[in-house]
């Protein structure tokens, strides 16, 4: 069972309490964007085998969205952080570099 700490309410939540929201930090396109940009926003995904930044919603808890860094192969969670951020916090990036030396880094 996957356990994630909700940074909004502080609860350690089981995956049954959470709803996955897919890849995080996508650039949200709007009216006037080119087809390629919309395609990238709506459909194109990194889908990595390894470190993945993703959105979660504490659906059966506080109801808030948050973000997480997780390994898609081992399911190791490197940390969670508020959704109101443009990129992963430095602490998570540093932890990742230590634990996954071959990680290509934050794009």
């Amino acid at each position: 069972m996957l356990l994630l700490n909700c940074p909004c309410c502080g609860v350690d939540a089981d995956e049954t309490e959470l709803a996955a929201g897919g890849e995080a930090h996508l650039k949200r396109e709007t009216v006037g964007a080119e087809d390629e940009a919309f395609e990238a926003y709506l459909f194109m995904r990194d889908n990595p085998r390894g470190v993945h930044f993703e959105r979660w919603r504490h659906a059966y808890g506080c109801g808030k969205w948050f973000l997480a860094a997780r390994d898609t192969v081992t399911l190791e969670v490197f940390g969670t952080y508020p959704a109101q951020t443009k990129k992963p916090p430095k602490a998570i990036e540093n932890a990742l570099k230590k634990k996954r030396p071959d990680w290509k880094g934050w794009a």
Binding site: M1, E15, E23, D35, E36, E39, F43, R45, E54, T72
Partner: protein, 415 residues
Amino acid sequence: MKRYSAFAIAREAARYHTGWERAWRSPEPKTHYDVIIIGAGGHGLATAYYLGKNHGIRNVAIIEKGWLGGGNTGRNTTIIRSNYLQDPSAAIYEKSRSLYETLSQDLNYNIMFSPRGLIMLAQTHHEVRGYQRTAYANALQGVKTEFISPARVKQLVPIMDISGPRYPVLGGLYQARGGTARHDAVAWGYARACSDMGMDVLQKTEVTAVRSEGGTVTGVETSRGIIGCKKLSIVVAGHSGHVAEMAGFRLPIESVALQALVSEPIKPCMDVVVMANTVHGYMSQSDKGEMVIGGGTDGYNNYTQRGSFHHIEETVRALIETFPMISRLKMLRQWGGIVDITGDRSPILSKTPLGNCFINAGWGTGGFKAIPGSGWAMAELVAKGEPGPLAAAFGLDRFREGRFIDESVAAGVAH
């Protein structure tokens, strides 16, 4: 290749079975092939087979990082059907189903195709309307299905409780020539036929990089050295994103774990395949007597080939309501496979941004039934460089153009 036949069995019985030869060769890689296919699962092997059979291209290698058919080909619940709503889906899945009918004879390998019939249960009024619509669409597409009454469902599946408290059975979409086949045998049969045509099946050979020159593919780097090719076909299901990254492009695909389980073997009690899409469960009985059960996917990206336990619990809970007699059965085995889910839940058979590199992916939770048709269409795409009528609608460009094949909304969740 020595043919398998009743005579061969008699001959070998008379000499203590000393004359059987290996079903396929395990050669050393050559330095260059006309076509390299990454992934020796059902789809990759079928692509190779029809490249040789339909298009005369036999200088082909099929490269596999693990063992033959060890991914989703050997992990699915072996359901074969073609009762889809949208025309492009019905065309390719029905082509596939019809190829399954004679595949044992074509390959001279018993794939145990069992067209025992398949019912998709309608358990809400929405589903009744949806499946009636599908039945009419199938009639226009030339796919033989019918919408049947609850009484007929009960007649076909006596062990089913059709008056469940939450989701009573209100009817069903019945495809009499749907069914199952032996999944491993499909991979083995294709591999044997490919090997017989002179193709190289390279197991335990992992692709580590894709080589290109001036925007056109020139070969791959593998754990057994560099292998050149004129054309490259990526057929790696759940690992498509990983290989596409090597080839330098992104895909509209996310990979998740899909689980299945079997019960302990019991006496024959159900001779059709039953799918219940509202409650995410499907079940058939294997020739060994095990109840083969599949459910929904995990909700988040992962490559664990294991899956979350609560999904199995949800599936079993739902099926027990519909089949009360299975409530005392013990679970024998549970496993997971990594399925590649596209943005519109339909597959991709397409050219890619890299020249002479093609991709066959996104079959998601329903790839096994599509193996022969997918291989047929993919072989045409690789051989000619342009998609034929079966593959035309499944190009990567549909996501940019908004030209989706929306079976997810049309057919429910399970494929």
